[in-house]
Symmetry: C2
Subunit: 177 residues, 2 copies
Amino acid sequence: MQKTPQHEPEFIRKVPDGDSMERDVCATCGFVDYKNPKIVVGSVVTWGEKILLCKRAIEPRIGYWTLPAGYLELHETAEDGAAREAREEACADIEIERLLAVYSIPRISQVQLMFRAKLKHPDIATGPESEAVGLYDWADIPWADLAFPSVGWALRHYFETKDRSDFAPFSNPVDGL
Amino acid sequence: MQKTPQHEPEFIRKVPDGDSMERDVCATCGFVDYKNPKIVVGSVVTWGEKILLCKRAIEPRIGYWTLPAGYLELHETAEDGAAREAREEACADIEIERLLAVYSIPRISQVQLMFRAKLKHPDIATGPESEAVGLYDWADIPWADLAFPSVGWALRHYFETKDRSDFAPFSNPVDGL
Ligand SMILES: [Zn+2]
Ligand SMILES: [Zn+2]
């Protein structure tokens, strides 16, 4: 992995060797300023028929409800990242079942990998990024107060397939981009 | 998205606001040097029973066989990225069917989204990154000359499920990390 330049970079636009697109390349040291899409990992976590939701204590969308999810870190598998996010945001100990959906949010260059998971035990608690956490019946989900569109997509996709194990993962709903 | 600093950065280790891990943060301008895992998108592309393979014209693993795959670009959906890679590497016009597998390669901080796809027509040709492209019967796949372990995983996972449409996407084989 390239090191961020330790000097004032002098960027020029050029196609790096072996690449096919113009990038910002430092004329002094050759550093290529690749801007990559980011990977978000998260999960729809259940305990029996109830679904784990977290009320955001941080911006963006502070005070709105979300699923445990966040950026994948370096040197982490997608599954480990989703489990870490559940631990950080809801002190939840989860077991990943399978991939539920892959949502692409090209406007913000984000790909979201959403898993289906189960709580290993029902003990949950607020982490530093949550002002509340709860286990919700389907009928009680606060649809009007969800933090992001993809939270609603993942919940609906979960519900549609909750009694099945074999299905193709969902991508964005047709009306979703 | 943050702009790369236009001056000599003075990095200090600290936990940025709203974050939970130490990062390199520029003491002068606040730039956070996030290092993110990268997303590779690719596909197992078929024409009838034959599978599209590309012989690499570039490092790493020049001269070895691979599936059309590469880094997802900014502002691209995962599916569009996989189709672009097939176009760039094999001049192939493909239709994505579904997600076949998500492989995590934590050692190099990579997540690979591998799709199952069909050629729309059998016209293929070498692109700038390929020294040869071909449509291979299963029995003729050059197993000993595949470029990367995950190429073999995707081929085997494809073959295992080629007559099914409903299945959970694969992740790394248990012996694969
Ligand atoms: Zn430089
Ligand atoms: Zn700075």
